[in-house]
Symmetry: C2
Subunit: 456 residues, 2 copies
């Protein structure tokens, strides 16, 4: 080859353990609180929702947690995932920086989400669970859980945020191809959904509402558990395989990132690429800058409050300390549904508070512009969510150009955009505009945060 573009690991190099950042944190995570007692939840409190194996991963302090062999067998379908050098984008930008991207769009669902959907389905199957119920924003997570459920012969029910259900009809068809059932949320399937519809029959929905609906159904049935596609510690843990592979691949490329960039909605793809590098730095390795890029229309890390809040709108979940816009905040209906969440993963919020990461936000039109530039030079049409990471990486590359610095930039291209072409159509038709939240609504949502007694 005249120039190496791809860094590929062989099967035997697929990581055998997930990396748990909790083991290396200088300060432990704040406790998760029971909303009734305001006391830390016990594993038993979570048992109606999750199998015990996942609950134990949620609280584990072990640095390495073994990936079950049957899960690694399924991972072969798309893992190890490639790392690419973006030579053509570098040239187009005229930057001296080296830009690398980890590509997670090669999975059957087209994103990083199967990295956690498969182990979640596996552990639930092992625990005798018959049915999984979940929510989905952009549809990536619902598709992924439907895919994983089909492999294990489990029923899957998905509450899809209505604005996404309407914008992305093909996503539903994929979920049904995998045998799952889909409901537009808010739905009439649950008491909570019906209460939301009673107030506003045209409610666009939100992840927070869809979570409430899924949780409501899960706790009602003995043979059913809930599965979440982001936010929780065990979900972020499963995604660390991205960064673990990337570390091996950066070594193959004989370099190390100066900057690691990921987009953040709930936080899972960001944590996946970033946490192994953060941990490596905390254990004495080099400390790259870690940049979380979020949508300006839903800026939990940059505009939210670090406080205890509910994970859902209907207040059925425990309270976690996180950057939040308030559980009653409904993000505007912009085209990166996977980033439309009022909160941020507690682990990501915690490392932000510890000063281990930076956060920035960009508007969607700028992000689409970055995504189209990327597609025309690198050949992959990115998901709207991933466009935020690309925008972040381009900003860093242009900084390097201005400063004349030869830095290495690594970002996570968490999914392809083949299901998101409606939004590209709008972009090219000039119909895509920047969405803005209502400042008064945000202030009200923040004012409505639950009051939690100071911990002892």
């Amino acid at each position: 080859m005249s120039q190496q573009t791809k860094y590929l690991l062989n099967e035997s190099q697929m990581p055998r353990f997930w990396y748990n950042l909790q083991a290396d944190l200088p300060k432990p995570l704040p406790a998760v609180l029971h909303p009734g007692t305001m006391k830390p939840v016990s594993p038993d409190d979570l048992a109606p929702l999750f199998p015990m194996s996942l609950i134990l991963q949620e609280v584990s302090q072990e640095r390495e947690i073994e990936i079950p062999e049957p899960v690694r067998d399924v991972f072969q379908l798309w893992r190890p995932a490639p790392l690419f050098r973006a030579h053509r984008l570098e040239k187009a930008l005229g930057t001296p920086a080296r830009i690398f991207y980890k590509y997670e769009g090669g999975s059957p669902a087209g994103s990083h989400k199967p990295n956690t959907a498969v182990p979640q389905a596996f552990y639930n199957k092992e625990a005798g669970v018959k049915r999984l119920v979940t929510e989905t924003g952009a549809g990536q997570w619902g598709t992924s859980l439907a895919f994983a459920g089909s492999l294990y012969g489990m029923e899957v029910e998905v509450f899809q945020v209505r604005v996404s259900y309407d914008q992305k009809p093909y996503r539903r068809a994929v979920m049904e191809t995998y045998g799952a059932r889909c409901f537009a949320s808010p739905s009439t399937e649950t008491a909570y959904g019906r209460s939301v519809l009673a107030k506003d029959p045209h409610h666009p929905g939100s992840l927070g509402i869809a979570i409430s609906e899924a949780v409501e159904l899960a706790v009602q049935r003995d043979d059913t558990k809930y599965a979440l596609g982001s936010v929780l510690n065990h979900v972020l843990l499963h995604q660390t395989i991205i960064g673990q592979e990337a570390m091996l691949q950066m070594e193959m490329a004989d370099t190390w990132p100066d900057v690691v960039v990921g987009c953040t909605g709930g936080g899972s793809n960001f944590a996946g690429i970033a946490f192994p590098f953060i941990g490596h730095g905390l254990r004495g390795g080099p400390k790259p800058r870690i940049v979380a890029v979020e949508p300006a229309a839903c800026p939990s890390l940059t505009r939210g409050k670090y406080a205890y809040d509910f994970g859902d709108t209907g207040h059925m979940t425990p309270l976690t300390k996180m950057h939040t816009l308030g559980s009653q905040f409904t993000p505007p209906g912009f085209h990166a549904g996977g980033l439309r969440y009022h909160g941020m993963a507690p682990m990501v919020s915690h490392v932000k508070e510890l000063g281990l990461i930076e956060a920035v936000s960009y508007n969607q039109v700028d992000c689409f512009e970055a995504g189209v530039l990327f597609a025309r030079h690198e050949g992959i049409v990115p998901a709207p969510e991933a466009n935020h990471a690309i925008k972040g990486a381009i900003v860093e590359a242009l900084r390097c150009k201005a400063e004349g610095k030869v830095e290495t930039i690594l970002f996570n291209l968490c999914g392809h955009g083949h299901f998101d072409m409606t939004s590209y159509q709008k972009y090219f038709a000039g119909e895509l505009t920047d969405e803005h939240y209502d400042e008064a609504e945000l202030a009200m949502a923040l004012a409505g945060l639950p009051s939690v007694p100071e911990p002892v």
Copy 2:
């Protein structure tokens, strides 16, 4: 790993040469004829359409033709492509057969088409061509050429068959993301398109019509060439990288196919997987059965006539000897647009006549049923075209079950179905029916084949 599912080649194992079956044929291909003189065409006759490097590949008798290094550099984005063992499908079918599939859906366009789009754009760029014009059926080829054009900074114009343009709006958005211009064909952009619309303003279009439109535009402009996504010898040549890789991977899996299955529209993905195995057999290696699967609604190999015919409906192309339903035949609008072509690649037709391959046809509902079974067990949602190959492989696997034979079946999964979810929606809604052509129309189209004097 408890069981190996994936057979992956490393970068250094990517083939450096395409395999040219013409070198090993027991009998040479019939000549291509000039429609005016009925004499064999010369390379110069084709020069208005293609750069000389591709014309020379079209007629080359060399067994190995080098893949240019810059093309291999681009191929790194998705090649070498994985070979998978379909363990879960085997189990679901209860077959003793070993089912392997080569997966070409990992390319940026989601199918095998970039395997030829990239070298075609490369050779045109080298020849100083500024603009490429083409047609597309399912949209896979137009997307692929748009992708390749964007990498080389070339303009791309695509005539998309109207029924596909309407069924697959997202395809157009992808082409535009890559910077291409799209027209629904028949269009008002060309004299031929206008003549078709004058007779039937609601004509659903066909590949044959779209080819005429693209050829018309290409010959009118000095800086513009035509690019074809299937049928021609050089296109099939470029696709042989699929089978060459598969041969290395079958060796890794310590087996060799007893049956090789591919779907056939124009013939390129089929030739890609099959020709290296056919050639290997002709040179003294084992001779697997080679099965071409075509749609019952457009059955050129199984119901067409082996005769000289035009490649397009407007009669602007040379005459080639092939299995054809007649250039005036308009296939019904079924959901595998990539297989809606009246003719068959001359090379594929020739090996059929030589008895080197078999051909079968299946209806679309049966093929979707096979595709959904595959998705639920193997995890990849296949393109409707690829569902034909899956159906063919399943029929072979069930034959092995009935006969108690442990055979090895290899098929080409030429693309994913993420752009084709409309057709899956219809399938699940029970709205997908088998399409049938009109027997009288077929008879008339066959009766209208051009009369060609017997060769000397």
